[in-house]
């Protein structure tokens, strides 16, 4: 049970809720989770966000986006290199756009630009925004578990934030990756809970 702080000092930080991760025809959909689970997770993220916003939790989306040509990516190996070779998350393209369902969250959703890597604190003013709002606890959701969620969680923990991973609101590349991270990696620096466990701890 992580619900020790107040909801007003909590932010739900959503990563990569964009077409290139979540749309039906997303080119990397096949490299991500089971197709069915991607849609389920999307629904759970949106439901949790709406409910948490009503409790006073800040909603923040940190998409990833690159200039056309992906000049920001100099790495020749790994996920960023794949993103460059497939021209994913290119500014101005459909793939980089937030999924349209985010509109349902209204004006309360703050979108931060500038992220060009795994870690949502790098290239953005996320730390400043959280500090300005008095946030001491962040809930992580979105894509994907072993890359951006994990990198952001590690940095948040090192910065002194209390970190909660909403395990039913993150997509992973494989089921075994999801199990390993939620079961044994995240607990080294975060609390792992379902959105419902976080929202209604008394009913668990």
């Amino acid at each position: 049970m992580a619900a020790t702080g107040s909801m007003n000092s909590t932010a739900m930080v959503m990563m990569g809720l964009q077409h290139d991760h979540f749309a039906d025809d997303a080119p990397i959909r096949s490299m991500l989770d089971d197709s069915d689970r991607i849609d389920t997770v999307k629904g759970q993220v949106l439901n949790a966000a709406a409910e948490l916003a009503r409790s006073g939790v800040s909603l923040i989306h940190v998409p990833i986006a690159f200039e056309p040509g992906h000049a920001e990516i100099t790495q020749s190996v790994g996920i960023l290199s794949v993103i460059k070779s497939l021209s994913l998350f290119e500014m101005g393209s459909m793939g980089a756009r937030p999924i349209p369902e985010l509109d349902s969250l209204g004006d309360g959703l703050l979108t931060l630009s500038g992220r060009t890597g795994f870690n949502a604190f790098r290239g953005t003013n996320l730390d400043e925004v959280l500090s300005d709002r008095g946030v001491t606890r962040i809930l992580l959701a979105g894509a994907s578990t072993a890359a951006c969620i994990d990198s952001t969680a590690r940095i948040a923990y090192e910065l002194g934030y209390e970190v909660v991973i909403l395990h039913d609101c993150v997509i992973s590349r494989t089921h075994s990756e999801h199990e390993l991270f939620c079961g044994t990696i995240f607990p080294q620096y975060a609390t792992v809970q379902s959105a419902d466990e976080f929202i209604k701890p008394d009913e668990q």
Partner: protein, 203 residues
Amino acid sequence: MNPSTTAIILIGFQDDYFSTDGVLHDLLEDSAGTRAVLGRTVGMLKSLRDSPVTMISTPIIFSPDYSEIRQKDGLLLAIREAQAFKAGTPGAETVDEFKAFGDRIQDIPGKRGFNAFTETGLARVLGDASITHVVIAGAVTSICIDSTGRAAYELGMQVSILSDCTAARTNVEQEFFCTTIFPAYATVRTADEVVASLSQGAH
């Protein structure tokens, strides 16, 4: 690999992990495997001693009151509760096996979290030495090795992680990280491969 622009980053080679009486030694389930990691790392360093390759050690050390640790949960709290890596204690000392290398291994102090770049001079030292490729060895695979590898990758460096010179909590974790997590940002190599590549000066 070009030895002049490559640095070997040695992480957590301290008695609290690597000595059998270290307070966090049991965190690493495979004790014999952990000794073997140290042995292979020392062998690699000996082979490269006379090469231009940069060698850096980034020990994690806390002041006696652990005032640097504000976290109320997780591994850093566990380190505080176990009184691990406390300045002035044997557990915080770098492993004896590295002493023979003297100044050949450059110590960069200041690491107090998972990522060897956070609040240390590591990025500056690497930049000053025109390093573009980091080779990472040490403990623990899923924590400090992974956090440091990710940070180096995001800084635009080429990253190699040594599968046989890194120690994990379990063998399952070691295997999983080397086959599916590290390739997301790094090349996974063995010590022998790195020694061969650096000795040829091949890229």
